[in-house]
Amino acid sequence: MTAEHDRVALRAEQATIPPGHSWNRMPVIGAVCALLGIVICAILGAGNPKQFFFSWLVSFLFFLSLALGALFFVLIQYAAQGGWGIVLRRIGETTFAMIPVMAALFLPLVLGLSDLYSWAVPGAAEQDALLRWKAPFLNVPFFLIRAAVYFGIWSFIAVLYYRGSRGQDVTGDPGVSARLRKFAGPSIMVLAVTQTLASVDWIMSLTPHWYSTMFGVYFFAGSFVGFIALLSVVAPAMRRAGLLDTVISAEHLQDIGKLLFAFTVFWTYIAFSQFFLMWYGNMPEETIWYRERMEASWMTVSIFLMVGHFVAPFFYLMGRAVKRRNSTLAVGGAWLLAMHYVDLYWQVMPTLHPEGIRPSVLDVAALIAIGGCFVAAASWLMRRQALVPLRDPRLAESLAFENA
């Protein structure tokens, strides 16, 4: 075993972006997109702040959920001592390293709390008995404290794992892996609780009378599908761009595809269970949320979500060959990323436009603004680091991985 540990499984130049490679331009491209998006948001948002805050919230949740999904992906591999995915771990680490960036991108929302959340409108609790009863939890100062706590905890875990892994690249100390494994279990539990509460705060409280005990799991399921979908796009894209093309094999792609398939089904299971119990029970305080989404053009979106987030990818991703080719896996990943955005849009937007779906330029502008920041920061990190954990004790195992 020791001989295998000491052997250099990969040379550093096999796992870095070479100088002059086109991917070196990504931070600039991302920054230009971000700037463009922010300018459009500023111009159009000034005239329609309500639409701006809702559009920003959807895009913020989209990219934040990818980062949280990435954090879970890495934590679960540490906890289970997974070997196959070591070559993909740096992609996950780079994604969850964006959590502090997302914390900064949360700040614009603070200005629009009373536009977003009906409970945050001054005097709302006096008009409404239920809101008065919920006021000890749903009030602006406590909401902001909670947001700060979530971001504090997530950033702490993210920095701990990112630093640990990067440090191991230099020292090669296998003790780092053992130490991070010990923290992985408790971190997963803390992540589960905070992510649940965050989804309640940021999405569920848009309809403050409504409640669903499954909402946290629903958000988690979406976020994990989102990150695996991102991985299904990024890993093939890197291979095609000549990065890690000797490191990430078709075997790794197949396993990403399996996870994507499995968690698409998991998302469906949770989404349907949430809907089914409320539909069957038929209690007005529960059905109100679904009623909004089953009327006018929102019903079309609901059906589109059912077909596009489950039926189509279920049959598309079932076969083996589809998961093993760059192009076909990337198509599946890109489609599910889009569906994850539609899912969040469908959760948030009916509060603003109960009369039906009203796409706005601000939706696109917010997506470009936050996405640009995300891509710029992540690709900037990628230029400065090895693209795989070079001296992880399980790297050789991951490189040799084959599906049985």
């Binding site: 349907f272 809907f275 089914f276 069957y280 038929n282 083996r320 084959e402």
Partner: protein, 185 residues
């Protein structure tokens, strides 16, 4: 039913059984037997050896298609049964829902899909492997008892077009077999 009848070579010999000491020996021997062009042969190990299907040149199994077909049959059957019962044969208003209340039918549709897929997987595997088979000529060999313990075997059946009682035995010996045995039918 021809599917359930064991298919065994006719004639005086069942085939040749060769024992190998390690999975690696077996793996490389399989590659050679595959490359020699044998078609009616098998490898026997006490535990799954990764990649052996490739070394043997096995084609991908038909089983996934059987499972898919069975699963879709179960799901469709479950859904149609409920539709027929609730919306056509014996319509009843249940908790104010429409007769054709499709969300209520999803759990049973799902469960029957899974159940039939599982039946398809197990029964399909049995049929493709021609199981159950209560007797096999390989059991005549004393050394073959260790196939569930610590020995690795290749058996080449006598109806393989390339089979020859002496030459095939020599080939297996040259591939590092610990022992080679000619088995009667």
């Amino acid at each position: 039913m021809p599917l359930l009848r064991p298919q065994l070579p006719t004639g005086p010999h069942y085939g040749i059984l060769a024992e190998f000491a390690t999975p690696a020996d077996l793996y490389h021997a399989c590659e050679r037997v595959r490359d020699e062009g044998f078609t009616r042969w098998d490898a026997h190990t006490p535990f799954p050896v990764h990649g052996l299907d490739k070394a043997m040149g096995l084609r991908r199994s038909l089983l996934p298609w059987i499972v898919l077909a069975a699963g879709l049959t179960g799901a469709a059957g479950g859904f149609v049964l409920q539709w027929w019962v609730h919306a056509s044969a014996y319509p009843l208003v249940i908790s104010g829902k429409p007769y054709f209340a499709w969300p209520a039918m999803i759990p049973i549709t799902f469960e029957l899909g899974v159940l039939f897929a599982a039946f398809g997987a197990v029964l399909g595997m049995f049929a493709l492997n021609r199981l159950p088979m209560h007797y096999h000529p390989l059991f005549k060999s004393k050394v073959f008892d260790r196939v569930t313990d610590d020995a690795f075997f290749i058996s080449i059946e006598s109806w393989d077009p390339r089979f020859d009682p002496t030459a095939t035995g020599k080939l297996l010996e040259s591939l590092g077999a610990r022992s080679v045995e000619l088995l009667e039918s």
